[in-house]
């Protein structure tokens, strides 16, 4: 069987699985699965750019995705003029002071190279003074903003623009964060990047959770506008009702199905364009250079390629794609819930997608995204059934049985970990291996 027919078979099987869910459960469930599969596939593409093209290990995927979500809030939620009036100036002043602090720190550090040990103290002093000034400006502003109708707003709000803009902005946010992390940790030991991304993603998520003036924190931002029609409007529209009843559908089912299909089309468009861009990049001289760097850094360096610079570029690009996916996720949910970004759990899921699908192959990453998300969702009922069966010999109230049944949900993590280890060991090239060019 050739590689191509094998791939078609694999994707066909995936489509079959989704169709199976559609016939067996409902098409609504199938399409909500499909939408999340599409988003997962975009994230997997981003990780594949980092890992597959360059061998960079990013443990902070959820952090970058959360930044995309933040963009969703900042772009599309309604502005809160009262809050802006109360603390807008203070926030801007604080941000300027913060940036000035960083500049002052760098300036002092660069200018005091000859001073020996005093250099550390002077730099620390400059940063500390700047930080205190920033806090003095920003703290009252934050308090003022959070006091504006805390139950309804209590945050700055956004720009009130269509949420689709946030997909681009979210990518930008993630790219900026990635640039900072990459600039610090690339060019050093390879595992420093992994540890640094672990750190930054934790901090981003804590920041989004606790800075109420920006994101409402754990109070969540809900009711973000949609790029597609609302079910309620469809249900009330006479033309739509006549149209679907003409084909013998229930109006309520049909409207929610239509909304999901609209989302699926939008997401598929994004997925396909990113896929096209990265395939083109892979075939270009730049892609050839990236593969050369990945396969042998030393000789690529000897050929005059700046390895660290290219790594930084690829890390930023990959993170931007993850940020776009994060913004898409917020768009689909219509709300921003910082607590939903569990740092390592979902990061890990994306990793499993890339490895199973076939690292270095974009089609593989997409297939991995679909398969892993599908089974992640469907694994809960399956694992429950398995535990129930295994312990069926024990009495109903046996402590071991009760314990295992209540914790069966965690079997998913264990299974995914085991699957990752098995694939890495026995089939490290994945379902759709990288093509040798």
């Amino acid at each position: 069987m050739t590689q191509l027919s094998r791939n078609i078979l694999l994707f066909g099987a995936m489509a079959g699985l989704l169709a199976f869910v559609g016939f067996l459960q409902s098409w609504n469930v199938a399409f909500s699965l499909l939408n999340l599969c599409l988003i997962s596939a975009v994230m997997a593409l981003g990780v594949n750019i980092q890992w597959g093209y360059a061998g960079l290990f990013n443990v902070g995927i959820m952090g970058f995705a959360a930044l995309g979500g933040l963009a969703g809030v900042l772009i599309s939620s309604q502005p809160v003029p009262a809050a802006l009036e109360a603390g807008g100036v203070g926030i801007v002043g604080g941000i300027i002071a913060g940036l000035a602090t960083i500049v002052a720190g760098i300036f002092t550090w660069r200018r005091t190279a000859h001073m020996g040990r005093r250099r550390y103290w002077l730099t620390a002093f400059a940063v500390a003074v700047g930080y205190m000034i920033m806090r003095m400006i920003i703290d009252p502003a934050v308090a003022a903003i959070e006091a504006v109708e805390p139950a309804k707003t209590g945050y700055l709000g956004g720009l009130g623009l269509p949420i689709m803009f946030s997909w681009v902005v979210g990518g930008g946010f993630a790219a900026i964060a990635a640039w900072i992390v990459g600039r610090i940790s690339l060019g050093l030991r390879s595992d420093y990047l992994a540890i640094a991304t672990l750190g930054i993603s934790e901090i981003i998520i804590y920041f989004l959770k606790f800075e109420d003036w920006l994101t409402r924190g754990v109070k969540n931002v809900t009711g973000l506008p949609r790029p597609v029609p609302y079910e309620v409007d469809l249900n009330e529209s006479l033309a739509f009702r006549e149209f679907v009843t003409g084909y013998g559908f229930e109006v309520v089912d049909a409207s929610s199905l239509l909304v999901k299909i609209c989302y699926a089309i939008l997401f598929a468009l994004v997925l396909l364009s990113i896929l096209w861009l990265s395939e083109t990049a892979l075939r270009s001289p730049w892609g050839r250079m990236m593969r050369a760097i990945r396969d042998n850094e030393v000789s690529a360096n000897a050929m005059g390629k700046n390895v660290t610079k290219q790594h930084l570029l690829v890390f930023v690009l990959g993170s931007a794609v993850i940020g776009i996916a994060g913004a898409m996720l917020t768009t689909l949910d219509g709300q921003f819930t910082p607590t939903a970004y569990q740092p390592l759990r979902f990061t890990f899921l994306i990793w499993v997608m890339v490895i199973i699908g076939g690292s270095g192959n974009n089609w593989g990453a997409i297939l991995g995204g679909f398969i892993v998300w599908f089974f992640w969702i469907e694994a809960e009922p399956i694992s429950h059934a398995v535990v129930d069966f295994v312990t069926s010999g024990l009495a109903e109230d046996n402590i071991v049985r009760v314990q295992l049944l209540t914790n069966a949900a965690h079997m998913r993590l264990l299974t995914m970990g085991a699957v990752l280890l098995l694939v890495l060991r026995f089939s490290p090239r994945g379902l759709i291996p990288e093509t040798r060019r």
């Binding site: 390592l344 990793w351 209540t406 914790n407 965690h410 264990l414 970990g417 280890l421």
Partner: protein
Amino acid sequence: MDALNALVVLTNFVVVPGLAYGSQLALGALGVTLVYSVLRFSNFAHGETMAAGAMIVVLVTWGLQGLGVSLGPLPTALLALPIGIAGAVLLCLLTDKFVYRYYREQRASPVIYLIVSVGVMFVYNGIVRVIIGPNDQLFLDGQRFILKARAFKQMTGLNEGLAIKTSQVVTVVTAFAVVALVFWFLNKTRTGKSMRAFSDNEDLALLSGINPDRVVMITWILVGAVATIAGTLYGLDKSFKPFVYLQLLLPIFAAAIVGGVGNPLGAIAGGFVIAFSELFITFAYKKIVMYMGPEGYVPDGLVQLLSTDYKFAVSFLILVIVLLVKPTGIFSGKSI
């Protein structure tokens, strides 16, 4: 008098907790550093190894408590510790046999090890949660305080109290003993010396007839023991919750890197550096300002450099500074 009161506040909220937390981080970082120096990868599964070892200790402690065994004022968990260590060591050795050994024979690149260790982390994570569940588990017993705040106030006549928990003293003493033992082992015994030789120069060590499999085995035994002790001490001091061990990973890595990865002494120093910076930066200095500042002046806020919510940001900040200024760490560990 005011100065004394301020000092007591600082001791109570920073120095004593810092010593305990620092010991826990130091032990954790020691484990990471040992894996790094012999097996040459950053072990992301270390936090979960701590959780797994501590979990066995918790289960055995419950069993002992059920039998009515106790250590008097000391926590019963100390009795359960050897069984926990045995369990964690077994887990590490099995993992090595079935997972890591293959990649060692392949001479895989460090980043592959990294991914593999993340996979191992999730398997451990799953095992722990399936067995004991994701919730808080209490297993501390015995006397809670060695010195109570009120007793201290009566004793000294100061306004501020100083409380010392039994778990804090147990932590510091145990950590000190373990570190002393590990250093004695590494520096004085033949096996320890062969481990250091292997870590310094693998090829030369092989040439002088050191058995690599044995070195690796001893390393995992040490790592399993140190991880279980660190995990149990943390659980005694705060509480046992599987999720926290995931969060501890960042401070532990930061501690190992600050001290210099691969350098055991550095790991100890790094643990205390991270713990004390975290506490000093997130400490609310309001009371100190009240005592030391001008008479009758009460500051508006808490006078906190960074809110406690961001304590993990401190480890990251220190990590960033070290990476920017001196990537090899204070004690110059391995940089490749």
